[in-house]
Symmetry: D3
């Protein structure tokens, strides 16, 4: 147990969101380490674009580069892809399209791989994709917050 315990107590999705929400501060590295000590693989990053394709491509690349999924197994890529799509539905609230309706997103994301719940060992690995940031017109201040969470078995 550590000082992050009150924040990280819970399931895979909550942990992914907590890291995403807090990952702009000084303590990001500590938080990522605390998640790793709990047995999870974790990848964090940032992406900004008017194009959902860029968001998807950017997350896929960093997840593969850091070996959170096995790039040779399509089933792992498939699990990641659908988790990303579900998170993007939360970001776009129903229609996955940003630039085509003249909006832009700026997002931080966290991808976690590990147990769905601390005690659900028989359920093996799951994947959680959390995204948090802003959506708005491509102009400073003309934006508000958005968050999305996708979870899948892997």
């Amino acid at each position: 147990m550590d000082r992050w315990e009150p924040l990280l107590r819970g399931d895979i999705g909550k942990m992914a969101m907590m890291v995403t929400l807090l990952s702009d501060g000084r303590e990001e590295k500590e938080l990522v380490q605390a998640v790793r000590r709990r047995g999870y693989l974790i990848v964090t990053g940032k992406v900004g674009s008017m194009d959902p394709q860029k968001v998807v491509g950017s997350i896929e690349s960093s997840v593969k580069r850091q070996a959170l999924i096995d790039s040779d197994l399509y089933r792992e890529e498939h699990a990641l892809y659908h988790a990303m799509m579900e998170a993007l539905l939360g970001i776009s609230r129903g229609q996955i399209s940003f630039g085509s309706v003249l909006r832009t997103v700026g997002l931080r994301y966290t991808v976690l791989r590990g147990l769905k719940s601390p005690n659900a060992k028989e359920e093996k690995d799951w994947i959680a994709v959390a995204m948090y940031g802003t959506i708005g017109a491509p102009a400073k201040g003309a934006e508000h917050e958005v968050m999305g969470l996708g979870i899948n078995h892997i």
Copy 2:
């Protein structure tokens, strides 16, 4: 400033999500107080159902009872309603329907009213609705986490 500062630093949506994610612990009351000290109206609650109508009705009731919106003004109800719909799109990831496809949700929610960002006084009041919990078959353990966030001007 207080000890909650690192968690509550940021905009209205982040605060709403942070309270929702942490509101099952001992420190929920303290956290709600810390949000109030920052000048926000706040309502928290729980609802479980196979019926989106119950979720909508339950949140509307507690928000009106605690006077977070003015019940006599339709424009305030309209703002709340669309913020709830956007949060539900994140929960259901594209199709607002639970029981009709044999799923049930168990959610904690937080509704905040106040400045969109600490410094955006000219933008007046906004409303944020955060929901966090589980969706799944109506059987213990057969479920995973979901989160939704909706934000609107009011």
Copy 3:
């Protein structure tokens, strides 16, 4: 030509909407007659419900009762059905569900059958379904206007 000419000049969808928008006044009968003189079959009515099924059933019934479509031909029912669905997507703006998210609609509707455009005789009959009214909470005043238009070949 008649005094309604400036209002009814144009295609089948415009006529259907014009009748729907103006059909709460004294001149509704005159307007319906003017549409008939232009060679169109026309059915008008009202329906209020929290249930899309009621809206669909009510329009189908009055359209068949007044023989705007041939009840023995599924292809005509199929054309009507998809035109209604498209109008309902305009009413509900993306998700065909009212009561399940605790809203109710009160609608006037007009169904027209005839030429798509005054000069497009080779295109044979088309069908237009226009709906106009309000959507909102089941409480007086807590509502705003909605409109939907669906057009199909028949």
Copy 4:
């Protein structure tokens, strides 16, 4: 009261649609003037494109240029944006995409700002976006009418 009374009697959405439906005739200017005399801000225009982004951008530009909304307030832009999105859902009937499925739209639009209903002064300003025109293949005659209406508090 004036000769337009029978056409403009009613709420903000009906007025916006009536102007849009009738705005290709000689009497457009008179109609716009009659709306202004009732205390509404009004902007009308035309836009044709295979790209929803162009439709959104064109309306945003003319609305800001004519000061129907305060360009410095994001909350007003946010209200306009969601009203446009709702109108576009009526135009596209469920999926906001034209060119990506090889269709093009030609639209007239009207944006109104003022009271939701003539007597609802306590409800302050609302915004209505009406669009009317055609959708179809990029070839003369291969098209039919579409209409969309979006309404929001501002």
Copy 5:
């Protein structure tokens, strides 16, 4: 190899559809046996309803009863559930709702579990859900065919 070879040559989804399309004839049992000889678990059935919940419940029940998935593992139920949802999106073409818009479905279905492609052993088990039947008004003849296919890793 057997006489079904030309029909069953290919991947898991094609096999599931082929069985569903042909399963009303005398040779259904033979076809099911031929699929089993290729190493797949297979469940077939029929369901008719105005209620998506009934379709989902009926398939879940027979799949669990016949042990195509391990009822004690939520991850397997989760895989089945999303494959069913994807098949239902094909059946309903965008909005998972039948009775709420006054339509009824009559479906045959096939669920297969095994290799995605004959040679993709490293990809382990996948699940395919194929549905084929009719959608229409609750009246004889007033209906047309629909098909849906959902595929997921398990």
Copy 6:
């Protein structure tokens, strides 16, 4: 009657899917001939793209070139278009977008025109569009099967 009878027994949609599923083998020509002997117009083809617009354009072109529809009648193009859209909703399972979320499709398709059911002569011509193939990342093996079926009166 011929040796294809067991495969082609049934309605227009089943025939379209059967041809699509089997059309990569040696017997494709025979199968197409058997469909023609039953009185149907038939067009088959292949298309691969990250862009729904390419899929739509490719099918429209070959259908017109082979005179399955009358290019001078918009009502026939309209019928084809909506049948294609419904098939694409099955392919994309809810959101018609491939490349914009970094996926590519490789599809075979069959378009049939003729009686909805062998005995439904009074219902005149219907059109069925079947698509079958794969969707996935633009990399060999990283894909799974998809199928879509759209049916419309013409």
